[in-house]
């Protein structure tokens, strides 16, 4: 099976297959930094990056995290529906495109493995960055270890069931 590596690698990922065709100067990326900052502040203020809140979620002791994820999905669903219905364009006038994810067994095995790690660290990848920013410097090691985990997946990818 010979496929364009770039295409193949992207198909298994959340990275933007629908990346902009326009060439932008690097400082256009600063807008993502700003969105990230606002996002990080919400993470801290709603205690989403808290290990305790994640424990409460998995121990069914609090509705908080279910409310956060549930209402985020609701807002996301409605937004995507509106974007499709009114054919909303990007600020550069491009059409917004959605690419379907293809199912593979990694969604199950990888999902379970990530779940195990999530309950230990109390953080998914996004919160790891915010936890370090919030002053928990030892989480740098967790982040480096997560990068090592991603690398290890890349190394053994061909041998893993998909």
């Amino acid at each position: 099976m010979i496929k364009d590596i770039n295409q193949d690698a992207r198909a298994l990922d959340t990275i933007c297959v629908n990346e902009s065709q326009l060439e932008h100067k690097w400082w256009h990326n600063l807008k993502y930094l700003v969105v990230g900052v606002l996002f990080g502040i919400v993470f801290v203020k709603a205690e989403i990056i808290s290990w305790f809140r994640i424990q409460e979620m998995f121990r069914l002791e609090s509705f908080h995290m279910y409310g956060v994820i549930g209402s985020a999905v609701m807002v996301g669903l409605i937004s995507v529906f509106l974007i499709k219905k009114f054919d909303v364009k990007t600020i550069y006038g491009e059409k917004i495109v959605f690419h379907p994810k293809e199912f593979n067994k990694g969604n199950i095995y990888g999902g379970l493995i990530f779940g195990l790690g999530w309950a230990i660290t109390g953080a998914c990848p996004g919160p790891l960055f915010a936890q370090i920013g919030s002053g928990a410097t030892v989480i740098i090691v967790t982040l480096l270890s997560a990068i090592a985990g991603t690398w290890t997946y890349g190394y053994f990818r061909d041998k893993l069931p998909h």
Binding site: N6, A9, R10, T14, I15, C16, E19, N29, K31, Y32, L33, V35, G36, L38, I41, E47, I48, I49, F52, F58, S62, Y66, G67, I69, G70, A72, G76, I83, T90, Y92, K101, N107, I108, I113, F114, G115, L116, G117, A119, I120, C124, P125, G126, L128, F129, I132, G133, S134, T137, V138, I139, V141, T142, S145, A146, G149, T150, W151, Y153, G154
Partner: protein
């Protein structure tokens, strides 16, 4: 006003704000919301090691690294500007449970009794900090996304593989919390 911001924000404020990230990223640049990919781009940029999985034009995805740098800064600013001076208000049953393992300090978002530099060199700390992180990085990439890419972006666009992945995230989390973590915390 500042007093209100300093309080922990309720889910019905935070959840919709997080959900808005989906249309914002789409509208400002046709980007699909996802965070775990940043770990892959870091590998591709720093340690590709000639592996096909890391041979792609990561520079095209550099927006994602700006985004996570922003999350890091947001974490910093959130604590510096509007930090909550009180300990976290945690469920009494969680307090009782953690008390058995000597965890009684709820001051920070990250429990300092578990996650600190000297703990790193104990068996428990190594497991919590290093092994936990490894599982997060390996698992999210194997699953093709994390809570943001699958649970939020994937479900928002009605992708059934994302629903499967999200259910598995939760299943793995319940398994760890109820079956394994009590043994790890005992160390």
């Amino acid at each position: 006003m500042l007093e209100t911001i300093r309080q922990p924000w309720p889910w019905y404020i935070a959840g919709p704000l997080i959900g808005l990230t989906v249309p914002i990223l789409l509208i400002i640049g046709n980007k699909a919301f996802g965070i775990s990919s940043s770990l892959r781009h870091i590998c591709a940029a720093c340690i590709p090691a000639n592996l096909p999985f890391f041979k792609y034009e990561w520079k095209k995805e550099i927006w994602n690294l700006f985004f996570v740098a922003g999350i890091f800064l947001g974490g910093f600013l959130g604590v510096q500007l509007f930090s909550n001076p009180l300990p976290m208000d945690i469920a009494p049953s969680l307090a009782t449970y953690l008390g058995q393992f000597g965890i009684t300090d709820y001051m920070g978002l990250v429990p300092s009794e578990l996650f600190n530099w000297s703990a790193l060199f104990t068996l428990k700390g190594f497991f919590m900090i290093v092994v936990g992180g490894f599982l997060v990085g390996f698992g999210t990439r194997y699953a093709g996304g994390c809570t943001s890419g699958h649970a939020i972006m994937g479900l928002s666009t009605l992708q059934w593989p994302s629903l499967v992945a999200t259910c598995c995230f939760m299943a793995g989390g319940f398994l760890m919390t109820h079956l394994l973590l009590p043994y790890i915390l005992k160390f």
